[in-house]
């Protein structure tokens, strides 16, 4: 292993390039079909984040940190939490907290079941980017420690 931050071998990188979008797509599927089958925002968000972690482990942290650092992840996490709260407060205008203001829709179609689908999406953003920010902090801190050791 020459450099820890440059990622793994060419084989791993190629396999990652082919599979990472499929993993992310599966996460979105689990989220968007949460009211039609097993799954939901929590599991879907973590699967989406696992695809990010897949990239980090295969390509090294520098490849990802250029595009998304822990500040952006934190902001996105807060956005997800506020989105969920907004859905709850929008129900307040039509009656009570968390009231279903969107209507039931046609059963067995994707755009049905009222607030469950937007709430699932909000929870996906919140849980996913929360976990990603924790993981990024772990990685960035450990690399910072190594750099300090090298300086000494």
């Amino acid at each position: 292993m020459k450099d820890k931050n440059s990622g793994m071998t060419l084989i791993v990188k190629t396999v990652t390039r082919w599979t990472v979008l499929l993993i992310m797509l599966y996460g979105f599927y689990i989220t968007f079909f949460g009211h039609l089958g097993p799954g939901g925002g929590f599991a879907g968000g973590i699967i989406v984040v696992l695809s990010f972690i897949h990239i980090i482990l295969a390509y090294g942290k520098d490849f990802v940190v250029k595009k998304i650092n822990e500040n952006i992840a934190g902001i996105l996490e807060t956005t997800g939490g506020l989105l969920f709260l907004t859905i709850a407060i929008l129900g307040l205008f039509t009656g009570i907290f968390f009231k279903d203001f969107l209507g039931k829709g046609k059963v067995f179609s994707i755009f049905s079941a009222g607030i469950i689908l937007p709430a699932n999406i909000a929870i996906m953003i919140k849980v996913g980017f929360g976990m990603l920010s924790a993981f990024l902090c772990l990685i960035l801190f450990s690399s910072q420690q190594e750099e300090n050791k090298k300086k000494e």
Binding site: I30, G34, H35, L36, G37, P38, G39, G40, F42, A43, I46, I47, V49, L50, I53, L57, E70, G74, E77, G81, F84, L85, A88, F97, F98, D100, G103, K104, G105, V107, F108, S112, A113, G114, I115, I116, A119, N120, I123, K126, V127, G130, M131, S133, A134, F135, C137, L138, L140, F141, S142, Q144, N148
Partner: protein
Amino acid sequence: MEILISILIFIMIIAALISLEIKDLLSSVVSLAAVGLILTLLFLLLQAPDVAIVQFVVEILSLVILIRATIIRDDSVYDRKYDRKSFIYRISALFCVIIFLIFVIISLKNLPPFGTKIYNKLADYYIKNTINDTGAVDIVAAIILNYRAYDTLGEATVLFTAILGAVLVLRKIGRLRNER
């Protein structure tokens, strides 16, 4: 079915004991992963696919983080010292386990036998009226995001607080300031 579940629980207990007692940290993490994956199988056998998916996915994420953490740290083998105090600790632990088992036996006597239907008014209401009330097919999603959405809001707040604490402890600026 009951025998299969018993065997799986037995393997789970053995893996948990191995992960506690083994000296190599990486082997400990791997046997802990075995505990979680067998738990996923148990949820599937008990017909709870929602919980099984969440358990499986969180298990994989925590496994990646734990393996990375144990590989980065060099002191993977640590020595456990037994001194005189550990005897007292063991006796007190045995005492606590015995008290716990007494209460478990009392509470398990009141449970209905495995596989029989529990007549619960709330569960019957959910099964009959979920589609009419919310329009969702998956009853679990309807419960956690429509009937009991307050609980999910609290859960999201707990997760937010936990990650906030982790980021605050691990952030770089505070570490750098301390080193200066």
